[in-house]
């Protein structure tokens, strides 16, 4: 992949991000932040790549493993906590007693 096409990817990705959330009700600010935060843990792919390419280099394997741990902590925790928040909104107003 050439550098220039990666720059294109960066540019288009940014524009997509700017467009995706135009109007958000304040109710969803916290869950949205938390969900987006979980997605930023996608850096786990970089950690995985590092681990696969590390070969027999043990220090690098350890760095990669710790990095993967941090990223997955972010991802798994982030999605779970977002789901917990959103589960509270899913109760319909008609459910009240």
């Amino acid at each position: 992949m050439s550098f220039i096409s990666l720059l294109w990817v960066l540019l288009l990705g940014s524009l997509l991000g700017l467009e995706l959330i135009g109007k958000v009700p304040p109710t969803l600010h916290t869950p949205l932040m938390s969900g987006a935060n979980a997605i930023s843990g996608i850096t786990m792919l970089a950690a995985l790549t590092l681990l696969v390419k590390a070969g027999g280099n043990v220090p690098l394997l350890i760095i990669g493993s710790v990095s993967l741990g941090f990223a997955l902590f972010n991802v798994v925790g982030g999605f779970f906590v977002t789901d917990r928040m959103l589960a509270m909104f899913s109760r319909k107003p008609s459910n009240k007693k």
Binding site: G13, V66, F70
Partner: protein, 483 residues
């Protein structure tokens, strides 16, 4: 080139494309109440898909060594388990700090990847080491380390401050901090250029200087500005991920990182607007309290009326419309369920109850919505500021529960106030206002609240939960909600 050689590449391409599409749909869906929960799961699925895509690609091409598998499994089990446990156990009230912690860890991950690649260049990047390619590599490693370190230390400081583990040191409110931060920034840039010039030892200077910069920038920021900072740091962690994408040559990482970075920036802007502050003043202006003492708007209270829970209950009983204004105090006291019991009683007696939600009530936008939803408050009773403000003049009683700055009329009347211009709830327009509060301490901004001095305002001193529990008893005695 035969087809079987290309198959893993094609599969990975298709999976990556699908993952990007699902992630974009996920972020989009998260911004609507109806679709939010499914969207979150969709995004989680897309992440899983991306991992499967990556692993199957390497299995089909270079293969994955047993040693790699071992460390992959160790890292993923520990990270996922800790994340899941924390996410399940953490109370809803500490959501902002939890997001900050998760965010910091994402930044740390990007930092570590870049550090690993910098110290032990991976074999693959030696394929065509022309000058341009290696320069890009150095730059993306440096950016990844710089942004990753700021995200990590900044988020950890933000978390510690929200948890109350760290207070704002007084020197950070003086001009000295700008000087200190400039020193850190200059040191980071020097290390940055030194690194690009091929001096690999300066990588440690970059790590240290950018970590300190993250601390130095976040430490002076106080109170109500904290959510903005967390949102901004969230945006940074996306940028860090995108930079890591350049380091390991992954389009998927770049797209996802850029999307989160951009979306985080928009969200930050939305939050700033809600508080009538510009991003620059949040980052460089210091906390509001420091400014308020300078401008002299923190005068003494002259006309405080306090009343008992009983009086408050009597007034409530006679009301036909009540608006509840929740704030951080409610979250701290964990009084949302007790509040719900009180409002249920009022509703059963035919009193109309509405909750007025200020966009930045609590420590994070949407904080109150989450909290009240936990207590089973139907969300159609939650009204946003612009909708509820015209309703105050026709309201009999307003109950302010642990909110302060968001109901300060100074923001409208006093042009010298640091709050001036911030949109607030016009609670003073109602016939009677009760402020349930532990003491006369100022709100998070440290500014005197003119509302407390108004003749139609009465203070009910006490912990929100305790007061509301007593209130239930009083209402029962009055026969409210018995019908």
């Amino acid at each position: 080139m035969n087809f079987s050689m290309n198959l893993p590449v094609i599969i990975k391409f298709v999976i990556d494309l699908l993952a990007v599409l699902l992630l974009a749909l996920g972020i989009k869906g998260l911004s609507k109440v109806k679709s939010a929960r499914d969207a979150n799961r969709l995004a989680a699925f897309a992440m899983l898909l991306s991992v499967i895509g990556l692993l199957s690609y390497y299995l089909g091409t270079s293969g994955i060594a047993i040693q790699s598998w071992t460390w992959i499994i160790i890292g993923s089990i520990i990270g996922s388990l800790l994340g899941a446990i924390l996410a399940k156990k953490v109370p809803m009230t500490s959501m902002p700090e939890t997001v900050a912690l998760f965010n910091g860890c994402g930044g740390m991950s990007s930092l570590l990847v870049a550090l690993g690649v910098a110290i032990f260049p991976i074999s693959n990047s030696l394929e065509n080491v022309d000058f341009f390619k290696s320069l890009i590599n150095e730059v993306s490693i440096s950016v990844s380390i710089f942004v990753g370190a700021i995200t990590f230390t900044g988020s950890i400081v933000a978390m510690a401050k929200l948890q109350g583990w760290l207070s704002t040191p007084s020197w950070t409110q003086s001009k000295v901090r700008h000087f200190v931060n400039i020193v850190f920034a200059v040191a980071s840039f020097l290390a940055f250029f030194d690194l690009i010039n091929g001096n690999t030892t300066s990588i440690w200077l970059l790590v240290i200087a950018s970590s300190l910069l993250g601390i130095g920038v976040t430490l002076p920021i106080g109170g109500a500005d904290m959510p903005v900072v967390i949102s901004l740091l969230n945006s940074y962690s996306g940028i860090a991920a995108a930079a890591a994408g350049f380091v390991v040559d992954s389009q998927l990482l770049i797209v996802a990182g850029a999307m989160v970075g951009a979306a985080g920036l928009i969200l930050t802007q939305v939050m700033c607007k809600g508080m009538n502050r510009s991003l620059l003043s949040v980052l460089f202006g210091g906390s509001l309290s420091a400014q308020s003492t300078a401008s002299g708007s923190s005068g003494e209270y002259t006309n405080i009326t306090s009343c008992s829970v009983e009086e408050c209950a009597l007034t409530l009983e006679a009301a036909s419309k009540v608006i509840i204004v929740p704030g951080y105090g409610l979250a701290v006291a964990q009084a949302q369920h007790t509040l719900r019991e009180v409002t249920k009683k009022l509703e059963q007696s035919g009193i109309e109850v509405v909750y007025a939600i200020h966009p930045v009530a609590g420590r994070m936008p949407g904080h109150m919505n989450v909290l009240l939803a936990e207590a089973d408050v139907p969300y159609d009773q939650l009204k946003e500021m612009d909708i509820v403000n015209p309703e105050f003049p026709s309201t009999d009683v307003v109950l302010v529960l642990g909110a302060n700055d968001v109901v300060n009329p100074q923001a409208k009347n006093d042009s010298t106030s640091p709050l001036y211009g911030m949109p607030v709830l016009d609670v003073q327009e109602a016939r009677t206002v009760f402020v349930i509060k532990r003491g006369m301490n100022a709100g998070y901004s440290g500014i005197k609240n003119d509302l407390f001095d108004l003749p139609n305002t009465s203070m009910v001193f006490g912990d929100a939960k305790q007061v509301l529990t007593e209130m239930i008893g009083e209402l029962k005695d009055l026969g409210v909600g018995e019908k």
